[in-house]
């Protein structure tokens, strides 16, 4: 693309960002296969865990963290740069008074407990051909929109 004149300056990072979109897509495909073949998108598996009838989901979380915790720490400690060229840094989430995590997490948990679905599995179930899922995703978009609208009035 050298020599193409553009109105806005195209930084190397912006160019890398577009070039790497297929990599994010492939990562998503892998994640979708993991969610379905690993049964994390299964209503039955989620109910089994939330009703304390089996350890599967807890073992998945524990082993995922056993892999991710040391890898995340190594990437940040060694100041590794991503393929896009930026240093890998995970921004800390602001704790504040912490209320958004308790209330928001609690509201999400109520939805998760009855539907057995969280956002990742919702997209996986869409691909798996569960035909009411588009309605559930639209409802989730409505929920997010209403939160955005009410945000200035809610405790955080």
């Amino acid at each position: 693309m050298n020599g193409v004149t553009t109105t806005a300056p195209v930084t190397p990072v912006a160019r890398a960002r577009e070039r790497l979109l297929p990599a994010y897509f492939l990562a998503g495909v892998l994640f979708g296969i993991v969610l379905t073949k690993g049964e994390l998108a299964s209503w039955f598996r989620i109910q089994e865990a939330l009703r304390f009838d089996g350890a599967y989901l807890y073992l998945v979380f524990a082993s995922a963290l056993a892999v991710a915790i040391p890898l995340f720490a190594a990437l940040e400690r060694r100041r590794v740069r991503s393929l896009e060229g930026e240093p890998i840094v995970i921004p800390p989430k602001a704790l504040g008074r912490g209320r958004r995590y308790v209330i928001g997490g609690g509201i999400f948990g109520l939805g998760w407990g009855v539907t057995g679905a969280c956002p990742g599995p919702l997209f996986a179930l869409l691909g798996a051909g569960v035909w009411v899922i588009p309605v559930m995703i639209l409802s989730a978009l409505a929920g997010t929109w209403v939160y955005g609208y009410l945000r200035p009035t809610l405790p955080h």
Binding site: R100, A117, A124
Partner: protein
């Protein structure tokens, strides 16, 4: 050998792969695994109105994640249709008995067909489950700033206290909902 392709994966394959996907996104472009942000990006793209929460450049901060979510849909087709296991999900006998007691009789597929079908939208309970449940997921994850992936994997893997609080809150509320709300929606 072909049978191996269709068999569900054990936890010690699934869990580490989840950890590797989260790590892979960091390596590709310093991106944090988190799916619920896509609801916000879609709102910002489709109908931001004058809401400050949706007034940002979603193409800059969210395009990669929407592409990632598109990949999840394709992966869900591969894992949930092309490579679908012919057997019911192998939950414990205790879970099976527990859910049967609540009135679940169809254990095939990823979700129970008796709850997740178009006809359910014509009943009050089905509507509460699908539309009400979906609304709570979208509202709660936006409020908490993350979900099972963003807080449960990325935040916990980075040892962040806010994520631990969110994870404890959604597991506690999820257990409450499964024990006390779900029976109301399943029976009668």
């Amino acid at each position: 050998m072909p049978d191996l392709l269709y068999r569900p994966w054990p936890w010690y394959v699934t869990g580490p792969l989840v950890g590797l996907v989260a790590t892979g996104l960091l390596v590709i472009g310093n991106k944090q695994l988190g799916v619920s942000s896509n609801f916000r990006h879609l709102c910002a793209a489709a109908w931001p109105r004058n809401v400050s929460f949706f007034k940002y450049d979603w193409t800059r901060s969210g395009l990669w994640n929407l592409v990632f979510a598109g990949g999840i849909v394709v992966g869900g087709f591969i894992g949930g249709v092309l490579l679908a296991s012919p057997d019911s999900v192998a939950i414990t006998a205790r879970a099976h008995a527990d859910l049967a007691r609540l009135g679940v009789h169809d254990f095939t597929g990823l979700v129970p067909g008796q709850l997740f079908h178009w006809g359910a939208l014509l009943t009050l309970k089905g509507w509460l489950l699908i539309v009400g449940g979906g609304f709570l997921i979208g509202f709660g994850t936006a409020y908490a700033g993350g979900c099972t992936s963003g807080h449960g994997i990325t935040g916990l893997a980075d040892l962040q206290l806010p994520s631990l609080i969110a994870v404890v809150a959604f597991f506690a509320a999820g257990a409450l909902a499964s024990h006390f709300l779900l029976p109301l929606l399943l029976t009668g």
